[in-house]
Structures are given as C-alpha cells and as structure tokens.
Symmetry: C2
Subunit: 480 residues, 2 copies
C-alpha cells in the first residue's frame, strides 16, 4: 500500500482511471500513513478519516472524473471547513464554526480531490519559523533538530513525509516557498488573486496569497489548473505564454547583478551558480538584472502586516488576550501604534516596487534567486549570521521571498539539491504577472533536465523511531 | 458673437462641420467672454488665450475632425498642463512644472477640444464650499451673495456663465455634483477609474474621481465618450445597457424609503417629489429602496481623506507651512494623528458599503436623491439647519453625495428647477458600476420630458455691473 504514496499525481490518476487502483484504496493509504506519523511529525491539527473515505467512495461511484479525482490532499488550518474545526493554529478560534468551505477547497473538491485533514502552522500565520507552542512545532523531515519553516509548516511536512499528495498553504512573506525550500519540496505562490482567499482566515489581506506545496512542478501544475480562478480575459491576454514548453533552450533567465548574493550561505550560492551554469550549457541566455532597491521593503511589508493583522485581531485581543501565544500576542500588539500615514506610505512604496519588478521582467522569461539565504535553522536558533552580520532567523528566511508578496508576482521554489550537511537548498523562480503556467513549465523543464527535483527525506519512521522532540521537550525550547 | 456661447455642443459641432462657423471664431467668442467676466466671477486662475487660438487654428486646418473638434473647455486647476501653471488653488505649488499634460486633457485634445484656461477651486480641493482666500471665492451666478459650491467652484461658474462649453473638475465627496447643483448645471462623476486621474494633483486617491460639468446631459455624454478610458472588456460586459434610449416608460426608479428625505429643505423635497410623480405619470416604476446605514460613512470618508491628503502634503507642510491657507493647513494637520487601524477599518467599511449599494442597484435602473439638502448657502454662512439640527455647511452640502465616492458608483446631478428664492435645485441620479452611458441617457430622458434642464443665470454683466463681492471684501469674509 505505501508504494501508492510514492507515485506522481498524474501516475496515480492514470491508475485510478484504468481501475488498477481504487480511490478509496489511495485515500486509505495516505490516511494510514498520516495517522501513524502525526504523533511524531505534528503535521496535522486534525484528520477527518471518515469524511475522506466517504468522499473517496463518492468519487469512485461517480467514475473518478475530474482533474484531481481521488487525489488526497491537506490544507493549512486557516481554510474554512464545515466538517473539521478551523483553528488557525490557535486556541483563540476554539468556537469558530464557518458555514461553508473556503472557495479554494470547494474548487479542489469539485475537481474530485479528497481532503484528508488540516495542517499545523505558525499561530495565525504570524511567523516564518513554524514555531507553535500550542500544537507543537513540526520538525524538519530531513533533520528532526531543525525547523521545517513556516508559517505553512505542517503542510510542507505532510507533503515531504507523503501523508498528503499535495497541500494548500498561504504565503504572506514566503510562508509557502520557505518551508518548501527547507523541506526539499516545490512551493508555488501564484499571481495575486489567482487563487481565491475567500474563506481563509486572513493574516494581512494586502499581501496574503494562497499557495501550493507539492513534490514536483508537474503535480503543482495539475493542482493549480484545478484551483485557480479562471478569468477569461486574463487567460486570453496571456494565452501566448500559457503553453507548457519544457525546454531550457533559448530561455531568458535573469540573475541579480552585484552584491545580491553576497550574504548567502556559500553552499547555497554554489548550488545556484552551478544551476545557472548548467542552464547556460543547455542553451539558456543568462541576463544580469539590477534588482530594485530593497532598503525599505521589509519595513513596508511589516507596516502593512502589523496594521492589518491588528485590525483583524483587535476584538479577540480585547476579549481573549490569554488565549494567544505570547510571541504572537506581543507581535500583534505592535500594530496599534502605527500611524495611518506610515501605512499609506508603505502602500505607495509597494506600488512603486511592483512597477519596478514588472519592468525588470519585461525582457526576461524568469528571474532566479535562492529561495532562502540559509538552509533549515536549528529548532532553538534565534539568529543567523549573513555575511558576518547577525540577523533574526525570521528576517533571514524571508529575505528573498517577501518582495514578491508586495509585488504580487508569481514565485516558485524548487529543490535543487543539498548543502554539505545534506539539507535541502531551494531556488526561487519569479515570473511576470499572470504567467503562472509558464513559470511552472520552466520549473518542470529544470526537473526534466535533472537540475531540480524532490529531495526525499530518510524515512526514519520505517524503523518505528520518532526522532523529533516531543511536545514537552518543545515547550522547553519555547520558554527560552 | 455671444450667441455662439448659447448653443449646445452638438449644434456647435454641426455649424463647424458645415463651415458656417469657424473653430477660431468659437474659441474667440468664449475667450472674449471669459476675459471680460473673470475679474468679476473669479472662475479662472489662468487663461491661455494665445495657445487656445493657435490650437483652434490647427483644428480648423485639420478639418475639424474629432468628436469635440473646436469645442472650448476649461479645467479645474489641478490638471497638469505644460503651457499654463498648475496651482491647485494654492501658493504652495508656485514652482511646480509638470512635464506633460494630464491624461484626461490629452484625450480631450486628441478629440479636438480647445483648453481655454484653468479654473479656480477650493485650495487643494480641501472643501466643498469653494472658499479660497488666495484666488478669491467664485460667487454663485444666480446670487452673488451666495456660494457656488466646491471644490470645483470655478469650473461650475465658468460653465454657468458660458465662459466654457464644458469643464473638467474633480469629485472626492461631491466636488463636481455639489457646485453643479448649486449653479443649475449638470455634474457627472463617472464610475471610479473611467476617467484617468493620471497627472491630476491628488486630494485623496482612494476617493478622487474626475468629473464633467456641462449645461446638459447631451453635452456631458459627448465629453464622456471622448475622455473615458475605453476598457474593451468593461464595454463588452455592459453593452446591453449602453444603448441610449430616451424614454422614461418602464424605467425602474429607486427612491429612498423612510426618513431619508426628512432633513431636506422643504422646497427641495417638494421639487423631488413632483419630479418622481411626473416620472410615474410617464410610465416609470417607482421602487422604494431601504438605503444602507450611513452612520459611519462621513467618518470613514474623512479618515481616508485626512490620511491620504496628509501623506501627500507632509513634505510641503514641513517646508512651506506659511504658504498654505490657514483653514486648509489646520485641516491637513489633523491627518497626522490618525492611526493606521482606523484607516484600514475605514477602508473595510467602504468595501462593505460598496457591496450594499451595488445590491440595492441590482433591481432598479437608477436611484434618485436630492443632490444637496439645501440650496446655495450665503457666502459667509458657516452652519445650516437640517430638520432642526445645526450642522456645518460642508457636512450639509456633501450629505447625499459623499457615499458614492466611497462606493465608486456613477452619479449625476441634473438641475430640476428653482426653490422659492429662485435658487437652483439639483437631483442626484446613481447607477450601477460601469452603466455610465445608461445613467446619462436617463438624465437626457428627464431633459427631453422637460423635467430637468440648465437654469440660466440672469446675465447681470450685460449691464456692465459686477454684483459679486470684490477680493478685499472677500478677505473680510474669510477673517470671520
């Protein structure tokens, strides 16, 4: 049975269409694996086995039609569901009962996908580390002493550990791409608005994006085509770029000029440079790009996040102060002191950056950067050193990703190998607005050329041993 | 010559096409009138006679093609121009030299229209009364002791006094519709985004709209068709509603239910009720509409205005504090104390109101309200009494208009007669998003049925007497 969890999405679909494998069998295989591993990897907040099996039965009876018919998936626990609780990783939401499923889930279920359960996350998506004192912090599948990244931590771990075929997450500063990079997966944040945020507990509505975590760009493409909002005008305007060629030959790849990669860990810089060299060898044109000035990008991002998050949380902060985790509560409270002038200046800076990045993307097919400047940090690590300067872990992890939440451009992280310690390294690809399928096809081309691809964790559970710290050990970590 | 200024836009076009009248003759007639009256009506900050005549000559040589070929117009002095200064009604902008004309002006000039000059306004569009201590306050053409309304004061006065065939203004809370109503004209604020704000000195970019002042809905329609941004997708989606029928028969007219008209001056309420009755008699269906709760609408509008205006003016407030008029400066400084939370809550309330008004407009063709609850106030009036309660003049004047800047719906003011003192009364028509031409056609139908139409001022200048207060008399008024 467990072999089923190794197959690609399309392969699994073919087996179900031909009748060699039944949808219920597939769902049962993933469910068994999820239930066995969850006490150790903490990737699920809730698992809805009964509902999932019954849905799989219905899909089977209906002839397994639909692009994702019978494909089991999970979602970050910020997507509204009627059948399972929606916690947002917090105790604050304990009595929240949405009346309908989030729109993105409705679309996936209409395509036949089977929701297995809901994934652990950084409380209210507040951080990029994935640390969660309430539901525990999912450990990195490649090293149980290290962070999986966040805030879509559980979603990444579920896909990495093959307890879901794919997962939906959300990404406000890198929260899909960063855990994907740290866990050796594909993480895709489409053009802003391409996947509906309706029925998703917001963190910051100006920057929030729904994203996809998957084992390959091929899998992610199938999911994206099923879940996206198909705006006919947008599709028509970008039809020339929607075809999915899979060749690197003739591709115009932009790479940042100058000191942009100076503060990147040497193993990561090396892997990215090797990949660029390989692309050139295979016929791609490498174009040096002067990146927009990033001086105030983090400040602008933070101003917008803190203000919008505070506006959303104000009532709960008054009524349920004690139910928040301490770190998240302290962070949220900062939002009350920010002046409106600063917020609108941040929005104006964002509009300027959007125009600048779009300008850079006019003459190239794709821009490439590392996804993160460091590999997965240790669980109790608070600061990392970049080019000799100590910075908070969170700032380091979102260093290359947060700009593209401000600008709304589609951005994809693909795994391009390991560093010297065997930890995954991710490459970020950025495309022009609404060239989402083109961006995915470039990722697929890298995979076909053997330059990118899923990095499978050592399956320590096969020995029945859980290497990750227990919840009480984790509480220890959090009190430091 | 002066007869030319009395003709409708289409009639004037026909005479120029047939060669009976030359474009230079038309421009010269309006210029002569503008120059003769400006020292009295203060409607122009600058007049560009030479440039206008040379443009008219060029239009003539090119065969007077283009929808507005040879039609003289003016614009509020917030539209960037290369040939004339752009003051925004303030001393602060004395060294401002834009490099190109505002996009809306470019479109009008491409259609052959002739810019005569730039109109006086409330400094930086800050108020609805049109009071301006620097360039003087344009008096109401129907009573020199009364306000013309603002902030597009000079634009309304120029069209009322036939020193421009039409004018562009801007409308952030009613700044086109209110002066149109007070001066007996048509004022049209199209769907947000339909006329470009590019190259317009902003007051508040979330609520600013460019609008049109004209003597009839027919004139306004010609201008709108030339100046609007033609988005093919929007035009196609609304094609069913774009046809310009001119009958009231079968029209579904929404009127506010309940206490909505309680605080309206009795003469205005009476005129509106008579008009509704006439529409019913002519075959329209009158539908009572429960209006959205307006409790926080003014607060939300003010929060957004103060914050965005302050953000734009901050540098000038620091460097050129003394160049601002005192009232505007004191107002702008309030923006610095508003918290970001309040600003985003205002934006959220605005989004909710937008949805509510759109919902109301689903089952009707047009919503009708008075444009203002009072006729033109006296020049030194600070407060008016509505239903026994004293309120500031500005709050009263924008009472019915400011909601539709928040929601972005097209709104049109048409003159529907005079009150007992002979002062013009305006009716506001509101339509669904992007049903701009439909809304104008309903206005035209009212005109054809004799229910609405330009209210011509007594032309006291024909006796060579200026009844308006002089500038020094006005300064007296401002110091009270």
């Amino acid at each position: 049975m467990s072999d089923l969890t190794h197959l690609s999405l399309r392969k699994l679909r073919r087996l179900m269409i031909s009748g060699e494998v039944r949808p219920e069998e597939v769902t049962a295989a993933f469910l068994a694996r999820a239930e066995a591993r969850n006490s150790c990897d903490l990737s699920y907040v809730s698992i809805g086995a009964e509902h999932a099996l019954s849905r799989a039965g219905m899909v089977e009876q209906a002839g397994a039609l639909g692009r994702l018919a019978g494909i089991p998936f999970s979602c970050k626990d910020v997507f509204d569901t009627v059948t399972l609780p929606t916690t947002a990783g917090s105790r604050v939401m304990h009595d929240y009962r949405p009346l309908r499923d989030a729109r993105a889930l409705q679309r996936l279920e209409a395509a036949g996908a089977i929701l297995l359960g809901k994934n652990n996350l950084h409380e209210f998506c507040y951080g990029i580390t994935g640390a969660n004192p309430i539901f525990g912090t999912p450990a990195n599948p490649h090293d149980p002493g290290r962070l999986a990244g966040g805030s879509s931590s559980g979603s990444a771990v579920a896909v990495a550990n093959r307890t879901a075929m794919f997962a939906l997450g959300t990404d406000t500063g890198g929260s899909v791409r960063v855990p994907a990079s740290l866990c050796g997966l594909v993480g895709f944040k489409p053009t802003r608005g391409q996947i509906s945020l309706k029925g998703v507990v917001p963190f910051c509505w100006s920057l929030d994006h729904v994203g996809i975590l998957a084992r390959s760009c091929g899998d992610a493409t199938e999911v994206f085509l099923a879940v996206r909002e198909a705006d006919e005008a947008i599709l028509a305007a970008n039809a020339d770029h929607a075809e999915r060629g899979n060749s690197l030959h003739g591709l115009r790849i932009g790479v940042p000029r100058g000191a942009y990669l100076e503060n990147v860990a040497s193993d990561i810089a090396l892997r990215v440079q090797q990949l660029i060299a390989e692309c050139r060898r295979l016929g791609a044109h490498i174009v040096e790009v002067v990146m927009p000035d990033a001086t105030h990008v983090r400040t602008a991002s933070l101003a917008v996040q803190l203000v919008e998050a505070f506006a959303w949380h104000r009532t709960n902060l008054q009524r349920r102060f004690d139910l928040y985790g301490e770190d998240v509560r302290e962070g949220l409270l900062q939002g009350q002191f920010i002046l409106a002038e600063h917020y609108v200046q941040a929005l104006r800076l964002i509009a300027a950056k959007q125009a600048e990045v779009s300008e850079r993307l006019k003459d190239i097919d794709v821009l490439m950067t590392p996804t993160t400047p460091v590999v997965a940090p240790e669980l109790d690590q608070r600061r990392v050193t970049l080019a000799g300067v100590e910075v908070p872990v969170g700032n380091a992890l979102s260093h290359f990703t947060c700009l593209f939440n401000l600008t709304g451009h589609p951005a994809l992280s693909v795994p391009i190998g390991r560093d010297g310690d065997g930890l995954p390294v991710g490459l970020q690809l950025i495309g022009a607005h609404h060239r989402d399928t083109k961006l995915l096809s470039i990722g697929t081309a890298l995979e076909r050329a053997g330059l990118a691809g899923w990095i499978e964790p050592n399956d320590e559970m096969d020995d029945g041993v859980c290497m990750a710290p227990t919840r009480s050990e984790q509480r220890e970590l959090h009190t430091h």
